[in-house]
């Protein structure tokens, strides 16, 4: 059980979502089947993205396993954001597919989406709600059980005392920190982070690196789009360089 995320390790799963996963694993071991299909593993095969009639990337294939942080690099316009949007299920690839835990996501996209958290260019934080209302809403929306208490999550991202403050009064960096609190609060095996460091200060970068390290240590995986060097030890960190195709 050492490779399981900490939220899967408890003997008595507190909510339905966790119970399903633990039950799935149980059945799998009982049948003595190959455990590989259920291992957290994202496999991308021959992905192609066409946007506004021009080819962004094609024949993109890679595999990310649990415990790996994949840093996605590439020039502007090389399709880093498009890749994350396709993987999150927001847009459709023109070609190719990807599978999660050995199952193609084309058939059951929601099973995959239930296990991922996405932080996009904009933080996904509502200005007219307070920090804690935002987080409580995100948690209720996901239908999962919190990994730690709300005040704890808010304190860990460096916003203690801001719980009741309307998010509209926060700076861009602070709002980004609220998005990070969502990652801490909601259990998910996969994190898709699109430029998470843009508005963050150096201490925020250190916080995110610590979170990513911990996420990898408990067996989660993450795809991070950023141009900055991430201070994460080599066995966890891999990188993927997207190259723009030559314009025709």
């Amino acid at each position: 059980m050492a490779d399981l995320p900490e939220f899967l390790g408890s003997a008595e799963p507190p909510c339905r979502w966790l119970r399903t996963i633990v039950a799935n694993r149980g059945t799998d071991t009982e049948l003595g089947a190959n455990t590989a299909p259920l291992a957290p593993r994202l496999e991308v095969r021959g992905l192609e993205c066409v946007r506004a009639d021009s080819l962004v990337f094609s024949a993109l294939s890679f595999t990310v396993q649990g415990g790996e942080i994949l840093q996605i690099l590439g020039a502007n316009g090389s399709g880093k954001t498009s890749l994350l949007r396709i993987l999150s299920g927001l847009s459709q690839p023109t070609e190719g597919e990807f599978s999660w835990r050995g199952k193609g996501t084309a058939k059951d996209l929601q099973a995959w989406q239930r296990e991922l958290l996405y932080v996009g260019h904009v933080a996904g934080v509502t200005a007219t709600l307070s920090v804690s209302e935002n987080l409580r809403y995100a948690l209720a929306l996901s239908g999962r059980c919190a990994r730690l208490s709300l005040p704890e999550a808010i304190a860990r991202v460096g916003l203690p005392g801001y719980a009741a403050v309307l998010a509209g009064r926060l700076s861009a960096g602070q709002r980004q920190r609220v998005a990070l609190a969502r990652l801490l609060l909601i259990p998910a095996a996969v994190w898709l982070l699109d430029e998470p460091l843009t508005a963050l200060d150096p201490s925020g970068k250190i916080l995110l690196e610590a979170m990513l390290r911990q996420h990898a240590q408990v067996g989660g995986l993450a795809l991070v789009v950023t141009h900055q060097t991430l201070d994460i030890p080599a066995p966890y960190l891999r990188s993927l360089q997207l190259v723009s195709p030559e314009p025709l």
Binding site: Q113, R114, H121
Partner: protein, 221 residues
């Protein structure tokens, strides 16, 4: 809390905290409804006859004004993306959005319409018919409006496009709603119109959330 309840609670909080969003349609409604008598002259009988139509048109225009905000700020701050990725049942979320819009925008408008029915000196029967027809017809405004709002979210100049999309779709409600009040004024039965409005509301409640969800997915892909 279930996702659906959480969405409803959040929507109501969000809309109620932006007081301008809440008050603007009300003031807009009152202004239009008050402008009609200025244009029509002071004959009480004429006002009594045109009043229902004026109130319905004012509600319709004020609703159109308020639709843009259903998805716009969610689109801008990224919470719409989160919603689409996280939720298994997006149509349910869309239905909750419509419900929240109806509760925070149209219910106050119906209250204002009651006030306006005194301005137009409607008979008690006509007043009752106006309010009951509005209660049945305005959910259609919210539900169909949510579809149009989803289709135009993030479009530059979306407000005008939305008005073009939405106003023709409101015609059936306007016909039955206004004729219910007109018949009540004449002392005729209005059950037929009410049934038609209820039927339209059920049709909209069944189809609109799915159309909204499909529209959102298409807009954000």
């Amino acid at each position: 809390m279930t996702p659906a309840l959480a969405i409803l609670r959040r929507e109501c909080l969000r809309l109620l905290r932006r007081s301008s969003q809440l008050v603007q349609p009300l003031i807009f409604f009152s202004l239009i409804a008050i402008l009609f008598p200025f244009a029509l002259g002071q004959q009480t009988e004429l006002l009594r006859q045109t009043g229902p139509a004026a109130v319905w048109l004012s509600v319709l225009l004020a609703t159109t004004l308020s639709l843009e905000d259903i998805f716009r700020s969610d689109f801008e701050d990224g919470s719409l993306e989160q919603c689409i990725i996280t939720l298994d049942a997006l149509p349910l979320a869309c239905a909750m959005k419509s419900l929240a819009h109806w509760l925070t925008c149209l219910v106050p408008l119906i209250g204002m319409a009651l006030l306006m029915s005194f301005v137009y000196d409607l008979t008690p029967d006509a007043r009752r018919a106006l309010i009951s027809a509005l209660l049945l017809g305005t959910p259609v405004f919210s539900l169909v409006g949510t579809v149009a709002s989803a289709l135009t979210v993030g479009v530059r100049g979306g407000a005008l496009l939305m008005a073009l999309l939405i106003l023709p779709l409101y015609i059936p409600v306007l016909i039955f709603g206004a004729s219910a009040v007109h018949h009540a004024t004449l002392g005729l039965p209005t059950l037929g119109e009410h049934y038609f409005l209820a039927g339209l509301a059920v049709l909209a409640a069944t189809l609109a959330p799915f159309a909204t969800a499909a529209g959102l997915r298409a807009r954000l892909s």
